[in-house]
Amino acid sequence: MASIHLQNIEKRYGGFVGVQNMSLEIADEEFLVLLGPSGCGKTTTMRMIAGLELPTGGKIVIGGEEMTEIDARDRDVAMVFQGYALYPNMSIYENIRFPLRMRGVPASEHDARIRQAADMVELGGFLDRKPGALSGGQRQRAALARAVVRQPQVFLMDEPLSNLDAKLRQSMRVQIKHMQRQLKVTTVYVTHDQIEAMTLADRIVIMNKGAIQQVGTPDQIYSDPANTFVAGFIGSPPMNLIEGTAQNGTFVAPGVTAPCPEYVRGKVTLGVRPEDCHVGGDNVQGMVYGVEPTGDTTYLTVLAGTKKIEVKAAREYRSDIDVPVAIHFDPAHLYFFGEDGQRIRGAA
């Protein structure tokens, strides 16, 4: 029950910038997902919000109170650590109980709450074990239970499902979202998994090299990418990015021509999602490079010049390699990016 404001926060390690000039407003009760490649500063951001790392610049406000230099124990934040951080000498039961004891929750409530949290992560049968006697996925769920056993102002979850199998991950995902809606706790969630990000987030923050690339709803991030990084990061397979030149309303690259707005000129990058490419037509003249049937769809890779273009083809599409193929784009879903990688938008 708290909003979080990050105002120009920055974290330097000597000369290296881990997080740079980051400003973000996280609304009360919002589910915010941080998404980005390894080393982009997600964990560092979380640790600054938790109070475990002092920012080298900027301000952090939680629930209207300036918290920049307040110690972690005095912020009402619960965190799931990327490395689990279970207390090795305590049983899982005691691990989950620890935050309740520390935060002065009446002892009479402990047992019920611990069991409830353990049941949520399907660990009810393992409460007597020490962390050393659990599998990686079980440890991760224990860490999750320890975080959700109390109702803090903010949840911080650093890849809490990374080590689970697909089925368990899916069911945990639903549980987390349900619980967050029920408890109405502002949540910041880190993941590498796009599906997780798309399904859980109210808003997604895409980060790269310590800087925010784009903030938006999953829809906005997917259908309105701000730059080539976001475009190439989201979607699987991600958007095709084709470098070429544009003039007089036409984009040209080796083997590719496409219509473009008049205001797009010079060296530009065309972005088009695989699902907006279709076999046939006249935008691409290339050769079949590979065909990958996945069951519900077939991915076709077309070589145009030296560029490989991914196409989401019909399920029954089959072809030999090295035969000529033509592709057309859905003209309503073409994106153009300038030389700096930023989206070129019409006069606005």
Binding site: R47, A50, G51, L52, D71, A72, R73, R75, V77, A78, M79, F81, Q82, G83, Y84, A85, L86, Y87, P88, N89, M90, F98, P99, M102, R103, K130, P131, G132, A133, L134, G136, R139, R146, N163
Partner: protein, 280 residues
């Protein structure tokens, strides 16, 4: 397959032979002591070796009647145990600060603490004597307790610190976000996680303290403060000349507590430290 197994069996046999031989060489002096301690005085010094000596409790009876061994043992135990407790109480927080807190000169202080251990003890013998004389603590087990604690403090701190450095920092971060303060973290997270290190350090300190000789000789002048180590050195067996079998027996008795400590430490030295704390 059969051949591989056989050669493996052979190599195990060779291993046991070599190790067994080495163990026999190491244990021989101890067995020798035992054998001398439990034979009559007349069979100790003879021109011919006696392979099958007569069993005798003469030396044992002599010790029990003539020599305040219980008093010496008591002094040893009080001084050593007390010093270890003092060491742990001081070293655990110090080690934690040296392992975790960021402050200027941290590494230097760490090294300085260890370096006190490198000094030759004889250098401080005279000042220490006068110090304790002024304090009125000469010939007292309490003085020995303090001295043993001082001698071992640096080593104990250093050992515990090295164990603490191995504890993942995320554990403390988790405890802090869960709402724990420094002392709670130390008591509930750090100490249990480095318990094997603490036990190891305590046993090593105890062994050093039991064997301490120079300062004990300096401080202790009567059986008020004589510990096993000094009493042993002063022991000749009594008024009728040097009684070797009694000396051997006393030596063996002095050796037993150390043996027990070493057996204790072995179990803990090989234990994993932070099993299951982190990923992987």
């Amino acid at each position: 397959m059969a051949k591989a197994r056989k050669s493996r069996g052979e190599s195990m046999l060779v291993r046991y032979l070599v190790l067994g031989g080495w163990a026999a060489v190491c244990l021989l002096p101890i067995l020798w002591f035992l054998s001398i301690g439990f034979r009559p005085r007349t069979e100790v010094i003879t021109p011919q070796p006696i392979y099958w000596p007569t069993f005798s409790l003469d030396a044992w009876h002599l010790l029990m009647s003539d020599w305040p061994i219980a008093q010496y043992l008591r002094n040893s135990v009080i001084a050593v145990a007390g010093s270890v407790v003092i060491d742990l109480v001081l070293a655990i927080p110090a080690a934690y600060a040296l392992a975790r807190y960021e402050f200027k000169g941290r590494e230097d202080i760490g090294f300085y603490i260890l370096s006190t251990r490198m000094m030759a003890p004889a250098i401080v013998a005279v000042p220490i004597f006068f110090l304790f004389k002024t304090l009125g603590l000469l010939d007292s087990v309490w003085a020995l307790m303090l001295i043993y604690a001082a001698i071992n403090l640096s080593l104990v701190t250093w050992i515990i610190r090295s164990y603490m450095l191995d504890i993942p920092k995320e554990l403390e971060d988790a405890a802090r976000t869960d709402g724990a303060g420094d002392l709670t973290i130390l008591r509930e997270i750090i100490v249990p996680a480095c318990l094997p290190g603490i036990i190891t350090a305590a046993v090593i300190a105890a062994i050093f303290a039991i064997n301490e000789f120079l300062f004990t000789l300096l401080i202790a002048s009567t059986s008020n403060a004589y510990t096993m180590s000094v009493a042993l050195a002063n022991f000749t067996g009594g008024s009728d000349g040097i009684i070797y079998n009694a000396i051997a027996l006393v030596s063996f008795i002095a050796f037993v507590p150390i043996l027990i400590l070493v057996i204790l430490i072995q179990k803990h030295l090989s234990r994993g430290l932070t099993m299951g704390a982190v990923k992987g």
